[in-house]
């Protein structure tokens, strides 16, 4: 019996061992600091944000807002949603499992919490050793992974502009990156060359950053010392280029049906009489540009 169990286990290990390896092995690290950022962006560019980032014109629904977490370690950092953070925390507590979350809506703080289909959320992982930035997301039912060299933002540091954020003295820096001009505020009191999303490369932590038309904005709202593992979740990622990554994001925004059809096989669209019709009824026109605009 023991021998049979060993054979089975060996066979399973062998099958998994022969799975194709990733392009490079991500550096694992532990955080020493966690920062919480308020992130908001305009989903309908008919709306305009004021300098205080409240709506000047447009509908309230035109602004999408969320809180995201930046875990900073010596060798790596990870920027992701609180939803994923909660899920990982629940799993790490050992009181439940992935299937528990999938199958029986787990109540946390009065809200239901379950993973996405592929178990992957939006995440930016910076590998400071390999100098790579990895972005993951789920479009339709599949998980995607974009791996880039750490971008050179070409920051220009201001000689005059300073302001205080959360009690830290911050200095202004500007850059142009993938179709947008940004203003960032960083503090040298925290000598960490990191920030929200893909932003990094300044001699201090980026506390606030926004594009000049104020369509995307990240602002720090919390800092705490926490030691927690930083790693990419194990998932069946499809590796994509930046062009394809943005193309998939656009398709999900505009036509999720087409994306599902391409991922899980033919999707049948019928009208109330049972006749096949096209899927255009739920196609949306995007009313905003992604943060990265490629020409």
């Amino acid at each position: 019996m023991k021998t049979k169990a060993l054979i089975l286990k060996t066979a399973l290990v062998a099958m998994i061992a022969f799975l194709p390896s990733k392009a490079f092995t991500q550096t694992r690290d532990s955080s020493y600091l966690e920062c919480v950022y308020d992130y908001r962006y305009i989903r309908d560019t008919s709306a305009v944000m004021k300098t205080d980032f409240h709506l000047a014109t447009g509908e309230k629904q035109s602004v999408s807002a969320d809180s995201l977490l930046l875990q900073i370690g010596t060798k790596a950092s990870r920027y992701y949603t609180f939803r994923t953070f909660y899920r990982d925390s629940v799993l790490a507590s050992g009181t439940t499992s992935v299937s528990d979350l999938i199958n029986n809506k787990r109540m946390i703080k009065g809200k239901y919490l379950t993973p996405t289909i592929s178990g992957v959320d939006f995440m930016v992982y910076k590998d400071k050793v390999e100098r790579k930035v990895i972005t993951t997301d789920e479009f339709g039912p599949s998980a995607y992974k974009l791996t880039e060299d750490t971008p050179d933002f070409g920051w220009k540091i201001s000689t005059v502009d300073m302001k205080e954020i959360l009690g830290f003295q911050c200095i202004k820096a500007t850059c142009s990156f993938r179709g947008r001009d940004y203003e960032a505020w960083f503090t040298m009191e925290l000598p960490i060359s990191d920030g929200p999303w893909k932003f990094c490369g300044l001699p201090g932590l980026i506390m606030e950053v926004y594009d000049v038309p104020r369509q995307y904005r990240y602002c720090i709202i919390g800092i705490r010392k926490v030691t927690r593992e930083i790693k990419l979740p194990k998932a069946n990622y499809i590796d994509v280029s930046l062009d394809d990554f943005l193309d998939m994001a656009r398709k999900e925004e505009e036509n999720i049906g087409a994306l599902m059809s391409a991922s899980s096989g033919p999707v049948i669209y019928l009208d109330s009489k049972g006749n096949r019709v096209s899927a255009e009824s739920f196609i949306k026109k995007m009313k905003f540009d992604f943060q990265e605009i490629l020409k």
């Binding site: 199958n103 809200k111 339709g140 005059v160 800092i223 069946n236 109330s272």
Partner: protein, 855 residues
Amino acid sequence: MLGFRTIICLAILFVGASSFAQTTRIWGTVSSAEENAAMPGAVISYVLKDGRLGGFAISDGKGKFEIATSSNPMQGDSLKISMMGYSQVAIAMPVQSPVSVALRTKPMEIREVRVTAPKIKMAGDTLRYNVASFTEEQDKYLKDVLKRMPGIEIRSDGTIFYNGESIGNVYVEGIDVVGGRYSILSENMSVRDVKTVEVLERHQPIKALAGIMPGTKASINLKLREESIGRWIGNINLKGGTDPAPSGLWNGNLMLMRIGRKWSSVNNVKSNNTGKNLKSELSDRILEGNDGGYIALNVNEAPLGDQRSKFNTSAIFSSSNTIKCGNWEYGASAAYSYDKIKSANTSRTTYYFDDGIETVTESEKSSSSEQFVQAKFRAQGNTERDYFDNTLAAELTFASARKEIDGSFANNQNANLPSIYITDNLKYLKRFGDRTFRINSINTYSSNNEELKITRTSGEQWQRIQLSELSTDTYLSGNIQSGMYLSSSIQAGLQGTYRSLRSTLSGIELDGLSYSNNISTVMISPYIQLGLTYNHPKLRITALLPVQWKRYTKPVAGMLGYRIYTNMEYLPTAKLTVKFTGQAYNNGLNMTSLYEGYILKNYRLLSSGNMITKMGNTGNAKLALNYKNPIKMWFVELGISGIWSRYPYSVTQNFSGDYIVGGYMNSPSSARKLNSYFQWNKGLYELNGKVGVKISYTDYVSNSYIRNGVRSPYHMKDITFKPEFEARLAEWLSMTYTMRFNNYWYSSNSSNKWSCKMNFNHSISCNLTLLSNLDIKLLAQHYYTGLDSGSSMNTVLADASICYRLTCGVELSITAHNLLNSKTYTYSVYNRLNDFYCKYDIRPLNVLVGVFFAF
């Protein structure tokens, strides 16, 4: 800290791009003094003597840095190396490159700023659909919008499929309001009351099994709009019209429901005479119904759709009520259906023999009616430690059928087929940590009291049958989770059946067997099933091994039964999935054929029972390869499957006068079926459409039949080709084209050559939106049927509808079916050793005017 801040800020204020006129490079490495390891991410600042910042750099993965300063290093300038959690190091200039710096750890001093953790924004389950974004103006019922949701498909019998697999149940606000009869909701609930459709993948409805055993099926949960909760909501749909006969046509529906936190009620009254048998909307996806009796007076089904080929009057009433008390739900429901069908067709059946063929030509006028009553009571308690569910249901069916047949065997048939079915399904489950203990017990009683009278010129035949059956399937099971991925289960139980058959047959004179049966059989079967599940993200394996001992009292027999099942899913890359399913089992004795005399099933088929005590063995396997490239919008699947069966007996068919006598005899036989398929789908993103094709090939060989004492092996092959295309051709015009091409080949001992037959149909539909509140739909279908003699039949059908929506929520429509007023439809198929050709009357041109209102 203040001093450091002041220095840094002053330094930065004096930094200017214009000051970096000359460039000097300073490079080196930063490491950890304690670990002597390279330190990536350290901030290296070059501070000039006057406090200005001369430049900065961040150390890379190997701890290396390089600063380009604007001026030559001078006495008083310094290089400062900083990193959170490490003491800052300052090096006086000038310094020779490379510079090597080792940082020492120190307690990190930082002002923490605590924030209240934000609420989770993304609530809900695996997949959520916002109904509003899928709804078109013309959508009335839930099914209209479900059909349009990606991955969801509703088949003609009302069963909902998600990604190709039937779903488990439909809930409203988490409550099982219709107890498995979810078609009542999908067919009749107004879409405007639904806010969100949640698809719960691998949904496990039993809370105590969470984390131990994932559910096997997806379920749907409907979230209602706030204003639709806790009040009576519903809709009325009335349609009336005529055909050239002239005869009146109607199609009406009233839905009334209330979903509340404490109690819910779903009520539906519906009737039509436009072809659809409404009983299908009452079909229960959880409880199994009566298997039925022996007498078979079915109305032939044309593969054209009920609404074109059936002439019926149908009505249903249903009421489902649920009360929720904490973790307990109590439900009571009642349902009634009535369906009367009239059908007319002419047919020709060719029977192949070893020494020739026999052709029977008939015309048939039939009418059948069925009344069905069901009552169901349910109690369910569902907590994280315990689960209890008991459902008690009783069904009464009063069916009758009449057939007038002219031709080779002219006769009139009258049948009365009443039946009773009572079932109780008890489930109890207790969880102890990662272990569970479960008791299930399904107990059923059924009774059929059938009577068939056949009148011919030669006389009358009577068949009377009394059949009753009592059965149980009771088992205990336990489940253990080992680590993250592995779980094992054991199940032990007892199956038992008592079956009593009494029948008398008069008016027939045939040699051989008795005309009456009086047999009572008991089957007792203890069994044990071992199960193993490995659920790794890249490899999923399920294996089940049940073993059972079956004991029969009449005929006296004992035998060992098994059913080995394995399923493996391997995902080597994100784009590729390999699936394998294999199964091997032996079939127990078929208790419905355990009798010794004759039973007359209809005017033509006479069944002789058998007491064969040997079992057949069957094995099947399927290997499928699935490749997807969502970026290019490609989806490809190809697969191959096979089923192999070996039986210790053969099926006999003896032609004796007006009758075909069917039975079994001790003589080994076998059958084999192979199938392969290829499916390709490509999204046409710019056209908002898609193009795809499916090709399948089937090869079937059997030598199971012995006809008139001669074994009659046969061989069938068929290939199916199904291309499809859909696109939005203009802002106001969308189009869909589908085609299905079938080619059949048939070979038997008698023909000794391949016969070939081709069927082909295609359909084009257009949707024109000329105004925002006006829709015009046009549909044209062409059916080509290849007939045996080399000739063919063509049928063309066309429909049109106009729908106009008033601003007050009332919708007016006019629909015309069969615009070309086609009268008949013909099809022809090979069926085992027969060739069947049939010509149906179809519903002529008819027009319906309708009004719909939701409240």
